[in-house]
Each structure stands twice: as C-alpha cells, then as structure tokens.
Symmetry: C2
Subunit: 294 residues, 2 copies
C-alpha cells in the first residue's frame, strides 16, 4: 500500500467511529468536510516516513500518530477560519466548515477533532503501552499551551510578538512533533529526529508567507493577501520577497542536512525536496529574482 492510501484509510477509519446511529448527523458531516478531501497531508507523510526510517515495528501506532497530527491540523484550520479570526469563506478550494455548516458546528467540529486525535492515539496505544505516554506528551505539547499551535494562534491577540516565536508555535510545533512522534511510535529516539521537523516547520511557515503574496488564489484554494489584510507577522513583509525566498532555501538545505543517516534517509530527502518544490516552485524563485534585477 502506498503512503497516501495508508494515510487516507487510517483517517477514514478514525472518522468512522463518529458516524454511527445516535450521533448528531450535522456535526458528523461537518467533521468529514473538515478532513476530506485533504490538503497535502504533509504532517502524516513526514510522520510515517520517520516511523519507517525507525523500523515501523508497530504500524497501527504509527498510523494513529499520523492521523492524530492531521486531525489536529484540520481542527486548527477549522477554528482559524471562524468569523472571529480569519472569517474565511473558502478553504482547499471549497467552502470552509463555518461557511458550509455555520459557526456553532465549526466550533464543535474543531473540538471533536482535537478529542478524536487523542482518542485515536489511545486506541492504538494499548499494544505498546510503554510508548503511549511520551507520544501523547509530544503531540499535546505541539498543540496546546505554552508553545503549540493554539499558543501560536493566540499570539495574534497580543499587541507585540516576535516573528520567530509566533511561527515556531503556529506552524513549527506540529512539524517538529511529526518527526519526533513518528520516531516514538516506532520506538525510535525522538531527540535525534526533532531538528528535521523544526527546520521543515520553519520553512513551511515562510513558504506560507511567500505563497500568501505570490500564489494564484485558484492554486492556493483560499484567498491570498491575508497576512497583510489581518496585520499578521509575515516573513515576506519583514525580509522582502527575495530575502524570504533565500531564507526558505537555506531552511530546506538545513532540513536535508538534519536527516540522520539511516536506511530511510534517501526516501526522506526525496520527500523534503518534493515538498519544497510544491510549496515554493523554482519558477517563482527565478521570477522573484528577475523582478529584483530588472
């Protein structure tokens, strides 16, 4: 089974526990809308690639970890799109959960997805009880306070924020957890794998800032120019576009260098290179360079 199929099947299995007689049907539909069809599923891909590099000796636990990370990511998107934050009408090229189902169900869908993430981990963790506590600690730390994605979103409510603190929490935390928890799910050493996720997370956030300036909204599946519109900290505004692209390329090189030597290293390097091209196509970099030298 290829990794994409493995991830989609695991997500479907997790959500199927919701869709039973006696469940509130609108909330079940809102949750499904939040998760399917997905985006690039980069966090679960990264998690499973690291689990594989560490031997993947408990595939059900690795699957659950990948699912938990993706559900938490989806939950954060659903809540970020609420009227009190971005008030986004579209996401992934179609109506956002709040636009399609209304604000109350969007709040509840996010809540239910957070709970399902930990429930999925617990259900798979009975097989390897010695790994579960550390695994949940890694995933929860990347999600909540003081340094997880919820904390990252909360920095938007503060009058003063440093760009790196904001980005490390808002995006970096879940990437770092994807590599660390991927290792833990397979009994590997999470410390050895964290740097890869850290650097990819930073690269991803900078790519997001660049895309918010450069991308076609049709390609992005959501409106562009949102950072400037919401006054959010942005590397593209702080470093300039070519500066941000150079920084992105440096971080991708750093991520490649951070992959520990192991049998799975070539596959991971290929994943990082492919993802880098998907996020910030080489053509954009050349285009931005031309604009500066013109």
């Amino acid at each position: 089974m290829d990794t994409t199929t493995r991830i989609e099947r695991a997500l479907l299995a997790a959500l199927s526990t919701h869709e039973v007689p006696g469940a509130p049907p609108k909330l079940a539909a809102a949750i499904r809308h939040a998760v399917f069809p997905g985006g690039a599923r980069i966090r679960p891909h990264l998690c499973l690639a690291v689990a594989r590099a560490c031997g993947d000796d408990d595939p059900a636990l690795a699957d659950a970890t990948a699912v938990a990370l993706e559900l938490l990511h989806c939950a954060s998107l659903v809540h970020d799109d609420l009227p009190c934050f971005d008030d986004a009408a579209t996401r992934r090229g179609r109506p956002s959960v709040q636009a399609a189902f209304g604000e109350p169900l969007a709040v509840l869908a996010g809540d239910a997805l957070i709970v399902l993430a930990f429930q999925t981990l617990a259900a798979a963790g009975a097989q390897s009880p010695g790994r579960l506590a550390a695994l949940i600690t890694t995933v929860a730390s990347a999600t909540g306070m003081p340094f997880g994605i919820v904390a990252g979103q909360a920095w938007e409510c503060e009058p003063r924020v440093t760009l790196s603190d904001y980005q490390r929490a808002k995006t970096g935390a879940l990437f770092a957890a994807a590599t660390a928890a991927g290792a833990q799910a397979a009994g590997g050493d999470h410390v050895r794998w964290r740097a890869l996720g850290d650097r990819l997370g930073e690269a991803y956030q900078i790519a997001d800032d660049i895309r918010d300036v450069l991308a076609d909204p049709e390609v992005l599946g959501k409106p562009v120019g949102q950072d400037a519109c919401h006054g959010r900290p942005s590397a593209a505004h702080q470093l300039g576009l070519t500066g941000a692209i150079e920084h992105f390329e440096g971080l991708v090189a750093g991520a490649l260098a951070a992959i520990p030597e192991c049998a799975g290293a070539p596959a991971l390097r290929a994943l990082v290179r492919m993802e880098s091209e998907r996020l910030v196509p080489k053509a954009w970099c050349e285009d931005a360079a031309r604009r500066v030298t013109a």
Copy 2:
C-alpha cells in the same frame, strides 16, 4: 489534605505548566479565568471519591483524571458561552471568558483546556502505563463524538432531538466518565462504577433544567430562563416542574442504590446526598408542591 484542597492544588499544578516565559500572556490569563475560581468541582469530587473507594493506589493518576474531567468541563462552559451559542456575559457570578477576554481568546482557551486535559493524563500515566490507554479512552469518549459532551452540544444544532439523547451526551457522559475513570485510575473495575455516574449525570441535567426555571440568578451566577430563551430541550418544560422534581428525586435514589458495596460506600452516599441538596434544595420541592396543591 481534604479533597477540595487536593483538587485545587492539582488544577493549579496543571495550569502552572502554561504560565512560563514565552507563553502568550492573554491566553494564559483567559485559561486561568476559565478554571479559577471554580464551581462545585462535582466531577473531580466524584472521581476521587470512587478512586478512594477502589484503593487510590496511584494518587497522582487519580488527581490527573480528576483534573482532566474538570478542565474538559471548563472548556465546554467557555465554548458554550460563545456568542454563537449562549452568548453569555456572566458565568459563576462574574464575566464569562468571552466577555472578559473576547471571542478569539475564548475559542483558544477552550481548545487549550481540551489539550491540557489529555496532556495531564499522559504526564501522570507514565507511572501506570497499563492503565493509561483505557483511561484516555473513557475520558475522550465522554467528551467527543458520537456520544460525549461535544455531541450533546451539537444536538442543539439539529432540527429534531430526543431529550434523553441530548441530556445523556451533554451532561451525563462526563459524570459517567467521572466514576468509570475514577475506578480505572485506581485499577478498579470501571463497569461496576459506571451506573452511579450515569444516574447522577441524568439527575444533574434535570436539576439544571429545574434551576433554570426556579433559581435566583444571583445564586446561580448566570442568567436564568436560558432554556426557554434558546429553545433548548428541557425536562422542566417537558414534564412540568413537579414532574421534573419527582424524576430528579427518583434518579438520586437510583444513584444511591448504584453505589457498589465497599469501604468507601458511606462517604459516597454522603457526597450524593449533599450534592442533591445543593442542586435542588428540599425547600424548593416543598415550594413547588405547595404551588400545585394551592
């Protein structure tokens, strides 16, 4: 140490992990506002009473379970008070989180509290890894979809709902988890203890409906008449006031009968009786009876 002190100390310890340099200060303050000062802390009291009845051989895990249940309860109150649900300005006699900190921080405070609940369980579960998976499953099932408190709230978004399904999910689920998880935290048999929580949860929801009609808003610490105002299913409206009070008394008797015979049974019976009087004072019942016979 008395149980109230034990609960408040454990809650303070859990929240102190948030309040570190580098954490977004407004969100930390909103979370503290959501948890302190608390209400009756009935779920953690119930959880610890059952853990004690089962031997309380891992007090840190019992504390974490009690804390997780209370944090999840607080999270649900913060989200229920949002403008898109009850739009409540007050809670526990002072401004609600959304009134004091604004809607964005109220959304994030609820999210962070859900995450902290599972993080607290995981941090304490490393000592008894064999108990953790089942414990998290119990707590998560009571919180999320398809039958937990989030599902209960979602029934308010459906055109048709049966009162018992709504109440079982919205309130009963976390009470049933309080007794079941209290047993699990101490290595006890959760099946034997679930009926007590089930009945108390049902009694509590009916008490809430009765209080929404009868109580003084000063005593309640929140506005009354909210069920009718929001068109929510209510036992007080469906059964009439005296019918609802009779049903409440029957459920309390059922809860007392459901306490398994053990050394901790007298303490639990005292707790149930005290809570029953706090929720629906005997004076109210007599008053309601007088109104009917007058």
